[in-house]
């Protein structure tokens, strides 16, 4: 099967006259202004330090705080060069900076460490791809100008898919035409040296046939500008092996410039630059009343758990819908602690909801659009403009300082109109869809993915509550990957439920949280046994430096194990003891504050994408992790095991695109035989100590930095729900998917449908079906040791 890299673009007309693009985060967009011909690029930035308490670096002999002014300067320089190198046709717009959160959902990462800048080619509209930069590129602290210019050079790769035009001394590998080589003839362009030049190459740069040795020319057979203005369908065949290059509206119908006339002009290049340091979340809880009262009670419990777990400062609204109407309940700003009166207001409002089964769900459209207006100032501005017939405003017309999100409690039968999805996407609203399983008739899973949110499907209210708690990480952009988990559907009085889990050194695993989600079961107690054999319980935990919490509101028991705990590394055992027999399932899980995470995607196997299904798992930290052991267990909707220990490989064979790139793949063809919901549970281990960090390598440029062998075992576990459509097995790759037409979409990739299929779950990811043990009771860890 030919493997495609999925482009997760969205194409939705704005009154502005252009179209919007979505990347890894709902705030990532490219908006084309048809009137001016300018494209405005909104980017999400992750920095790995506390911007309110910034560290300092000695840069050019001066101690320099990495504060907001530093980030602002970087973005100004980057915007200047983007403007100049595109002859004024593209500008940076809304730049949303997350400090220590949304690592895997950012277009740009600026990491406070040494490293080699890198970027995914043409990755702007692909979920999980990014432009990675360092405060100490190549080992030396760099000033804002250097980093800003380097980011602009990376835009050449990340936005436009262009290749380098510099020479790499000592690289004699002619078999890799997309890499700079020793024999190269550098051109005076930004893709050669961003410190010296600010323009893309033109045909004149390659008029001398003896000066055509660059990665760019070898790969595309033409200059950068000729590439930008050309229909990607006309690119050389080898450049289209995986995907079509993005073709920006601003370059369509444009002649190749022979004279580059736009100098750096800060007044213009920075005119649309809007830098926002993101704080908090604005979330609207939307309840479907078209369910039974017990189901609604489950929604309310789940939403209550969410309200309890959201951080102080969260702005929370509440709406309900039934039949064709909706009701807006109110909005509060959450304070600190479970006793915060505003949290109580929210909880009380939830409890006032009454089920109205049989009324239908058409009111969902208006409820979601109203919720979008409540959480997103951009959605509000767009809504206001539409009401009075004005064009949609630019995304920079309003500032969004809190992540806009909707947490919807409904069923899998719910369906919304395409316009509703468009309103959410254009308004930069992330939809978290918490759904009770009522079959495959609805489209909320697709809508949630389109907004870069997360769908979850549960078979019971209790299960839904557990999933909701894990979506707190997604809402807040936390990186809390799972180490291991185990679910027990039922147990007898006196049972002892054990789970073993491996804690890696603090270089990999930060604070570890071991949690028992006990639901309505009573008489449960939780103990730990350390690698050194010490028993930790609620009574002695504090004296050992471990925090114990019995969270009644969330029905959970938790231990927080700090990195400072002596002899922490090794195998731990959690034991959940039950005095009484079960009234509901319980679950044990270990998660950790860590950047080493797994992103799981399912490609194909749907009505929209009938290709044979395959699974991929990207292991990253955020640099990729190679040579890990990755296996997956697959369960059907009833919890029955369909396939155990399916090995995902990174060997470049079969469905795996390239060896050693940290993307592990396997085909699901022949494994999935019936339509329905499935759950994959991916386990990543390093038992043979072969895994290594790499800065990645290049199809197109540079040599790799050294692999850093990790040298110790670690565990990661990630789950993903997905709906499989069995008729896809008989279908082949459609002409539409491999074709070159971009239709009316800003970023045509050839596929006329919205291929928002890879679902990045990463560390914050989904909490999905945990498998029941064959015997339902004791002593089996889900972790692989």
């Amino acid at each position: 099967m030919k493997k495609f890299i999925y482009k997760t673009f969205l194409c939705s007309s704005l009154l502005l006259g252009g179209a919007a693009l979505a990347g890894s985060h709902p705030l990532t967009k490219v908006v084309f202004d048809k009137t001016s011909g300018i494209s405005y690029v909104d980017q999400v930035v992750h920095i790995d330090w506390d911007i309110d308490n910034p560290p300092s670096l000695v840069i050019d002999g001066v101690s320099t705080p990495l504060n907001k002014a530093y980030i602002n300067s970087i973005m100004e320089i980057a915007s200047d060069l983007l403007y100049t190198m595109t002859e004024g046709r593209m500008r940076l717009g809304k730049i949303s900076v997350y400090s220590n959160t949304f690592l895997d959902r950012a277009d740009m990462q600026i990491l406070n460490k040494s490293g080699r800048p890198n970027a995914h080619l043409d990755g702007i509209d692909v979920l999980g791809m990014r432009n990675q930069n360092f405060t100490q590129p190549f080992g030396e602290p760099a000033n804002a100008t250097y980093i800003g210019k380097t980011i602009a050079h990376e835009f050449g790769h990340y936005f436009f898919g262009l290749l380098d035009e510099y020479r790499e001394v000592g690289n004699f590998k002619t078999e890799d035409p997309g890499s700079p080589q020793d024999r190269d003839t550098p051109r005076p362009t930004i893709m050669n040296s961003q410190m010296d030049f600010s323009r893309f190459s033109t045909p004149a740069d390659y008029s001398d046939t003896t000066k055509r040795q660059t990665a760019q020319y070898r790969w595309f057979g033409r200059s950068a500008w000729e590439t930008l203005v050309a229909d990607p369908a006309t690119d050389l065949p080898h450049t289209k092996a995986d995907k079509l290059r993005t073709w920006f509206d601003s370059f369509k119908g444009m002649s190749v410039p022979t004279t580059l006339a736009v100098p750096i002009d800060a007044s213009k290049s920075r005119s649309s630059l809007q830098l926002t340091f993101m704080k908090n979340t604005r979330v609207a809880y939307v309840f479907d009343l078209n369910v039974t009262q017990p189901e609604l009670d489950g929604f309310i419990k789940a939403a209550t758990a969410s309200i309890n777990a959201m951080p102080a400062g969260t702005i929370a609204s509440s709406l309900t819908f039934s039949g064709g109407s909706f009701v807006e309940i109110g909005t509060v700003t959450l304070g600190a602690g479970a006793d915060d009166p505003m949290r109580q207001v929210a909880r009380d409002s939830f409890l006032s909801h009454k089920a109205m089964p049989g009324t239908g769900f058409t009111g969902l459209n208006n409820a979601l659009r109203r919720a979008a207006v409540l959480v997103s100032p951009l959605a509000a501005a767009q809504d206001n403009a539409a009401k009075i017939g004005l064009p949609a405003p630019l995304t920079t017309s309003v500032e969004i300082a809190a992540t806009p999100a909707i947490e919807l409690f409904t069923t899998t039968a719910s369906t919304v109109l395409p316009e509703t999805q468009t309103a959410l996407v254009n308004g930069a609203v992330m939809l978290i869809a918490e759904m009770l399983n009522k079959g495959n008739g609805g489209n909320m899973e697709t809508v949630a993915k389109a907004t870069r949110g997360s769908p979850a499907i549960a078979n019971s209210a209790a299960e839904l509550e557990k999933k909701v708690l894990h979506h707190i990480h997604a809402l807040n952009g936390d990186s809390m990957p799972n180490i291991a988990s185990q679910k027990y559907d039922s147990f007898a009085a006196g049972a002892k439920l054990e789970m073993k889990f491996l804690v890696a050194s603090k270089a990999i695993d930060g604070k570890v949280v071991l949690e028992a989600l006990v639901g309505p079961n009573v008489g449960m107690s939780l103990e730990l046994k350390t690698p050194g054999g010490i028993t930790v319980n609620e009574f002695n935990a504090a004296s050992l430096g471990i925090t114990y919490k019995n969270n009644i509101l969330e029905n959970s028991l938790s231990y927080y194990i700090p990195t400072t705990f002596p002899n922490r590394t090794g195998n731990w055992t959690a034991t959940l003891s039950a005095i009484n027999s079960s009234v509901a399932p319980v679950e044990l899980e270990a998660e950790t504050e860590s950047k080493l995470s797994v992103a799981v995607s399912i490609i194909g196997g749907t009505k929209e994408d009938p290709r044979s299904p395959m699974i991929t798992a990207i292991v990253q930290q955020p640099v990729i992790v190679k040579n890990a052991n990755v296996k997956v267990d697959i369960y059907d909707a009833t919890g029955m095991l369909v396939k155990k220990d399916l090995v995902l490989t990174d060997d470049g064979l079969g469905v795996d695109l390239k060896p050693g790139d940290g993307v592990y793949s396997a085909s699901l063809e022949g494994i999935l035989t019936k339509s329905g919901d499935y759950d994959v549970e991916v386990h990543v281990t390093n038992g043979d100590l072969t895994a290594a960090y790499g800065t990645g390598g290049a199809l197109s440029a540079g040599a790799n930095a050294r692999d850093v062998v990790i040298g110790e075992n670690f565990l990661r576990e990630e789950n993903l729900d997905f709906a499989f459509f069995s008729n896809s097995l008989a279908a082949q790759v459609t002409e539409a998917m491999s074709g070159g037409g971009s239709g009316g979409c800003t970023l045509g990739r050839g596929a006329p449908f919205d291929p928002v299929l890879p679902l990045l779950v990463a560390g914050a990811g989904l909490y999905l079906l945990r498998r029941k043990r064959p015997d339902g009771l004791v002593n089996e860890s889900s972790a692989h040791h």
């Binding site: 890299i5 080699r116 890198n118 250097y146 050079h153 290749l163 001394v169 390239k658 440029a701 790799n704």
Partner: protein, 236 residues
């Protein structure tokens, strides 16, 4: 008199060339250890080279942005023994990390390039500096960098590894460095006789070479009759 087959004529000419040309002197076994430190566009390009010969002669060179800043010739038998050279032929050609499809990583990490000529065979190894096999790491520990400031300009003939493959059309486009041209310049003769070694050469004479080749630039890829494509690098 029977007609001599054309293939045999070519072999005869080849060997005749070997014995009559500048290559004849290149049969001394040698080892060249080159270090290319981390580099990025806009950053300095640093290079160090240790050159050891079986006859005890050697050379250390350090360049910055293709200018020699340190150079020292040695005759102290610091050569690595031929027995050890043979061991190098058991190593792989590359100890580098694979690249990731669709991702661009800027610049170059610390690299080591090793060239060994032993018993008429040549071995090229490229490695990430911190990913060296034990045998190469052991070699590095024996090397000492003399502190000698350089003056003057130099030329060096760089043989190319097997990873350097050009199409016949590309080769045809390269300028030909004929034996006659080499014979006109004693510096080139010496450089071809001791590949990789830095040979003193006046800049004006290098310009003459460039003029013969109709080329500019400090590094020139040229066709030769005996060694295929080589790189001739001038260090001003």
């Amino acid at each position: 008199m029977p007609k001599i087959p054309q293939s045999i004529v070519k072999v005869i000419l080849l060997y005749a060339g070997l014995f009559t040309s500048f290559w004849a002197a290149a049969q001394v076994d040698y080892l060249v250890w080159s270090e290319l430190s981390v580099w990025a566009p806009g950053r300095p390009d640093k290079f160090r080279q240790f050159y050891f010969r079986q006859d005890g002669k050697g050379q250390f060179v350090e360049t910055l942005n293709e200018r020699v800043i340190r150079i020292a010739d040695v005759n102290d038998n610091s050569f690595v023994k031929p027995l050890e050279l043979s061991q190098l032929f058991d190593l792989s050609d590359s100890y580098e990390l694979p690249k990731v499809s669709g991702q661009v990583v800027e610049g170059r990490g610390n690299k080591v390039a090793l060239v060994s000529s032993w018993n008429g065979r040549t071995k090229f190894i490229t490695a990430d500096a911190n990913f060296l096999p034990p045998l190469m790491a052991g070699y590095r520990e024996k090397m000492i960098e003399p502190s000698v400031v350089a003056t003057g300009s130099f030329v060096s003939v760089r043989l190319l590894p097997t990873s350097f493959k050009l199409s016949s059309a590309e080769v045809d486009q390269l300028p030909l460095m004929s034996d006659d041209l080499v014979d006109q310049f004693s510096e080139l003769r010496d450089a071809f006789a001791s590949p990789f070694k830095f040979i003193v050469m006046d800049e004006a004479r290098w310009r003459l070479v460039q003029s013969h080749l109709n080329q500019d630039g400090l590094g020139v890829y040229v066709r030769t009759t005996q060694r295929g494509v080589v790189k001739v690098q001038f260090y001003p």
